[in-house]
Amino acid sequence: MKRFFIFLFFIQFTILQTHAQTISYKTKDSERIAKKLRLEDDYVDDLFVIYESNTTFNFELDDETGVPYAIEETEITILSLLDYTKYQGAVYTDLNTELLSIQLIDKNMKRYSLNYVSGSYQNSGIFHQDGEYNVIELPSSTFGEVMKYRFVRKHNDLKYLTSHYFQSHRYYINNGEVTLNIPEWLDAEILDKNLKNLKLKKDIDEPKKSSKSKGKKKEEALTVYKYSFKELDPAPNEVNMPGPSHVLPHIVFLFKGINKVGVQTSLLREPIDLYSWYKSLVDSVENDSLELYPIYESIVENASTKDEKLKAIFYWLQENIRYIAFEDGIAGFMPASAHSVCKKRYGDCKGMANLAKELYKMAGFDARLTWIGTKRIAYDYTLPNLAVDNHVICTIIEGDKKYFLDITEDYIAIDDYAERIQGRPVMIENGDSFLIDTIPVADSKTNMVKLVKGFTISGDKIVGKAYEEFNGESKTDVLRSYNSISSNNQEEALEKFLNNNDKNYSIKNIKKPDLNERSKPLVFEYEYTLEHAILTFNQQYFIPLDYEKNFYSFDFDKDRVTDYLFNAKYFKVISNTFFVPKGWEVVHLPVGFEAENEDYSIKVQIVQEGDQVKYVREINIFKGVIQKKNQLKWNQDLNKLREVYDDFMVIGKIN
């Protein structure tokens, strides 16, 4: 069409159109299911569902190299819930996964090759990764009819085939099947994860002759694992939900070894095999100590004790080495050399940890590389599987004490650990073997935010003084945010942070702390004036005692299905003192309340002591989690908290 009108209307002229009736067709129940789903609230907005999804993994050995690989064949039958709409699907690949074919299959099982468009897949925050998505588009749909396509992927190295997830990211699956044909020569263990509460059936069929090994010289005995499931909802996509391995149904592959005449190879049989592989990569890195030494000397120039050197190196690394993530092939596992990271002033977690290790070694510390899976990961080091970890840090062993140093965490104090690694098992380098340990878990009070205010009324305003103290991760967050803002905007940003960007809340005479100091509590003191907050009538003042009202609108959606994970454990204490002006008396005070369960406690106390009204509110979210089972209770407790927030104190003039 001409440029006068841009139409979002495209007509596809493809050869597939001529076969429309065999490509899109009805099955005995497809229309019935489509009609049923259209009436259900959860699916009424969906344009498609997956009618059938069948995935089969077959395992083979490369004839020339003897290296095992897997062929994954997936057939997806989509069911249309809206006419004239085109289904788009994506198949993901990376350096270790090859896409062999994508085809459309018609009613008569005739196959047509499908064109696909590839694009780089990038997670935010990762500078470079090797993932690609390959997008296909099926012909225009008809309500109640199905269309089938298949794709075949080759997993070139079983080390990287760590797991298989059952759900679709977008679509409900009516019927699904995952089949693993494990040949006799492959020593494998399959672990079921989060499969309870599903409409799922698992069958294990012990060795039988393969029917799939077409073209092979000899038939192989197979153990067949078959997972059949139905009516599976799409994977939830909720804010602050646990990592996928915690909640989504999946299976974990442990490929332990090959036992075949003439070929006896250990793959990842035990955790030591995983460690040995990591270690072999680390050992192949050549660190140039001579190049590093002058830098080391300048870093510790003013540090005389070991403790000072420990801090000097850690803080120098945080301030001078930028975190840039690389996740492409072997670069996802092998650290860059220490001197190159130092010279470039950037690196990923492995490169930064490796540089830290080298610098600490120069300072005479026992420094070791350490692998860790962050909280996002549900597994521990009993599993010899690459999915167990996703991060590398540096451990310093000083006698009985271990310092777990995560260089990627800006502005963190040496004894603080980010929530994402607390309580997580670590695999520490120890020559040919490894040590297992756990990162200490901090109490929520480590992250305490304390707000102390003293205030009274002046005309139609509230005037007062405030003291705000930040500790642990709450402090790290403030330091990090402040220092990431351009310097000409920092003062304004700080003011907006302290007054919550509220026009009514003006602050002055801020006593500003050193916003680079990370080892002490971060304290701000200031004076403030609050407008439009109080009412006056008939010689009475109506005054809010808690202006911050944390969590005021933080209700959980009743449809939420996962636990809510805060970024860190939460502990906040607000202690407000209202000074009753002379000649006035308290007429009404809100009533405090308390609530507590395994996830959180909320306490509000309000008392009058002479001419002072003391309001103390404490909210403690012990582990930084509100489990699904406690979310309804949270909503109920929040209602009570809101009642306190919304109840104004009243003072009246003494006649």
């Binding site: 009108f5 907005d45 309500f143 470039k344 005021y552 109840d647």
Partner: protein, 725 residues
């Protein structure tokens, strides 16, 4: 066959030439001697800045190549002092396009220079979003992949100094391409029109202050060069001819440019210094038909006079495509030929709009075609009809016009009834002709009266009238009562929109079921989308689609209310009038919902009602908003009219009403709240009027007072106290 071979050889030629020249480009790329780029210190006044651009220069070189080709080099060099961590992060990644040459050096505080290894750059892969800062306008993203480099050795206190150079060789069949790199701010830099050529709007102020910037132009002497300095930017300087290279040289230089600031009511293009320029290839300009706004090749064109505009606009509007599509559409929409000219103009507006948006609201009508359509429709009528030719006020004034890409069109027709001109401008999917699409309203423009030939065509300056505030209105009537145990408020709201507001509200609230543009169009056979007799599948599709769209609308509107209040339940929505049948009709809808966070307690028998929040959040100016840079631009004059009828619960009285009665009227606007109590009904009416679309910087205090008054009302609370009466 021979033709085919020649064709393929021709395709290969530029590739071969390019490969050879690449070496030359690389050799010429080393940092040249330029005193501006030896500066390493920052003036005292900018010591607190995040980064300071110490020097920046861009060289545009467009010269004749072999035979009919042109060669274009664009070289950008920039030297930036990174004063804090945020600036280091900002400059820590560098992207460049394939084929471009780049060199980056880091200058350490002690003067040590580190040259980065550009071979370490990696391909970013297809379809990865490139930050605007580094994006090159001419690159075909589907074919080529950018490279990116993580900048090494970078610290606070360092200077980053880079050069990036692109070379392009091309046949100037349609336009002269300009590609560029290294602007500190990409957005709004480019405008283009496929047929008319590229124009380059270059903003000189950026998020960092700039000590000095030069732009050198060395362009082939057979190109037409338009150039305009805007908002107090200096003029262009002619440096001389290079007879051997057959080029002309010019220089632009600016110093001490302060950084930009985010402000309310600002048009960046009218506030900060900028330049606008374009090059046009001469052979495409035929003697009689003027396809470009150009002067002559001997000197730079720095302003467009009335006669040039007359020639240009006439040719543009009467182009063969416009005529062809006028005839095409006219046949299909079956215009009713009203005798009254204004009625006929309305008919055109409605039919043209229905045709343009029959497939959905995401289309648009070009103003050029809109004006041409009216011209052809009115051509043989006895009527005072003008094409309105102007420049959107968001860009600048018509006197600053320098490129055809800035032009926008409409029409005006003198009413037979009252002798007044009625203006028509192209609208959006749910506009009626009272939405003038504010860009030309209140501006100085030209009225072009097209005659049978050029000599009988005339042009004269006019002033397009301003809107009256009443032309654009949001009117909300709310009936509010207290819910069970004072736990929530029941709100029944009826919202109505007119003028500019109607077009916006329509996109949010009208679905195909309520208004279908196709219903206005006659049945025309042969077009799938105009089928009147639909198949079963088509009917089913429409039912399902409407079901989905209606549900999504409900979710959207619920979210809209939720962005203002905590709601317990959003009960219902009903569109009562689409407002599409006539210009004076209002788009109206009703909503019913419960709000939980507007009612507070003070003991058992006192309630506090935050009534001011019902007029939705108002602009709350902060400390940094009080200082103003530049004049004040309001898109359009308008009125927000809220009436809140509150049912006072039995046994309660309201207090604090005097505090919410308020009135302010100044040059920027007026805000008034009136309160009437009638038995158990409390009626509060607020009227906020933006009286003007422009105020000089000096009147910012008026705007502050006006906005603050409305903000203060939005914070208003009243008391509900139980009485024994």
């Amino acid at each position: 066959m021979i033709k085919k071979i020649i064709f393929y050889i021709a395709l290969l030629l530029p590739v071969l030439t390019y490969a050879k020249d690449k070496e030359v480009v690389k050799d010429s790329l080393y940092f040249d001697e330029d005193d501006n780029f030896n500066i390493s210190s920052v003036p005292d006044k900018w010591h607190n800045e995040s980064a300071v651009i110490l020097a920046q220069k861009i060289n545009f070189e467009i010269s004749k190549g072999k035979k009919t080709t042109y060669t274009q080099y664009i070289t950008t060099r920039i030297r930036v002092y990174l004063k804090d961590k945020s600036a280091v992060e900002e400059f820590s990644e560098f992207y460049f396009a394939p084929g471009d040459e780049a060199i980056i050096k880091i200058v350490k505080p002690d003067g040590t220079e580190i040259l980065l290894d550009m071979d370490e750059a990696i391909s970013v892969g297809k379809s990865v979003t490139i930050p605007n800062f580094y994006r090159k306008a001419s690159l075909n993203l589907t074919k080529e992949e950018y490279k990116k480099l993580a900048i090494s050795s970078l610290n606070k206190g360092d200077i980053i100094d880079y050069i990036i150079r692109s070379k392009d060789e091309f046949y100037p069949k349609k336009y002269i391409k300009i590609s560029n790199h290294g602007e500190m701010r990409y957005s709004n830099d480019w405008t283009w029109s496929e047929k008319l050529g590229y124009a380059h709007r270059y903003e000189l102020a950026t998020k960092y202050p700039k000590l000095k910037q030069t732009i050198h132009f060395e362009i082939s002497d057979d190109l037409y060069f338009n150039f305009k300095s805007k908002n107090n930017a200096p003029d262009l300087e002619f440096l001389g001819d290079d007879e051997e290279k057959e080029t002309k040289k010019y220089k632009f230089e600016i110093q001490n440019v302060e950084r930009t600031k985010d402000q309310y009511f600002m048009y960046e293009d009218r506030t900060y210094p900028s330049i606008m320029f374009q090059f046009v290839y001469r052979k495409k300009i035929k003697k009689k038909k003027v396809h470009y706004l150009v002067g002559n090749t001997t000197e730079v064109l720095t302003s467009i006079d009335q006669e040039m505009l007359k020639k240009y606009a006439r040719t543009q509007l009467l182009n063969s495509d416009n005529k062809k599509y006028y005839n095409h559409i006219k046949e299909r929409v079956k215009l009713v030929k009203h005798k009254d000219n204004i009625e006929f103009a309305k008919e055109i507006y409605q039919k043209l709009q229905s045709y343009a948006f029959k497939d959905g609201p995401n289309n648009y009508i070009s103003s050029n075609f809109f004006a041409a359509f009216y011209y052809y429709a009115f051509k043989n009528r006895d009527v005072d009809f003008d094409i309105v030719v102007g420049v959107s006020k968001t860009y600048g004034k018509v006197e600053d016009l320098i490129s055809e890409v800035e032009l926008t069109y409409g029409v005006r027709i003198k009413s037979d009834q009252n002798g007044e001109y009625v203006y028509f401008f192209p609208g959006e999917a749910y506009s009626t002709y009272d939405d003038k699409h504010y860009r030309l309203m209140g501006t100085e423009a030209y009225a072009l009266k097209i005659g049978k030939n050029y000599n009988k065509t005339s042009i004269k300056p006019i002033e397009v009238p301003n809107y009256e505030p009443a032309d654009n209105q949001t009117v909300v009537n709310m009936r509010v009562s207290v819910g069970k145990n004072f736990n929530w408020l029941n709100v029944n709201a009826e919202s109505s929109y007119k003028g500019e507001f109607k077009s916006i509200a329509g996109l949010n609230t009208i679905t195909k079921s309520e208004f279908d543009h196709n219903d206005r169009l006659p049945e025309i056979k042969g077009f799938l989308w105009w089928k009147v007799k639909k198949s079963e599948k088509e009917i089913r599709y429409e039912e399902h689609l409407l079901d989905i769209l209606t549900r999504r609308r409900l979710e959207r509107l619920e979210e809209q209310v939720e962005s203002n209040y905590d709601i317990q339940k959003y009960h219902e929505f009903e569109l009562t009038n689409t407002g599409m049948e006539g210009p004076n009709e209002w788009l109206s809808y009703k909503e019913r919902y419960n709000v939980t966070d507007l009612i507070k307690t003070a003991g058992d028998s006192v309630y506090i009602f935050e009534v001011g929040r019902l007029i939705t959040p108002q602009i709350g100016l902060k400390k940094d908003d009080l200082e103003r840079v530049g004049d004040i631009y309001v898109d359009y004059e308008r009125i927000y009219d809220y009436t809140i009828e509150f049912i006072i619960p039995k046994g309660y009285k309201v207090f604090g009403l005097n505090e919410i009665r308020t009135k302010l009227d100044n040059s920027a606007g007026s805000f008034e709240s009136k309160v009437i109590q009638n038995k158990n009904k409390l009626i509060i009416r607020t009227i906020k009027v933006y009286k003007t679309n422009y105020l000089p910087e000096s009147q910012w205090p008026d705007m502050i007072h006006f906005l603050d008054k409305a903000y203060e009302f939005s914070q208003a609370k009243i008391l509900l106290i139980k009485t024994d009466d």
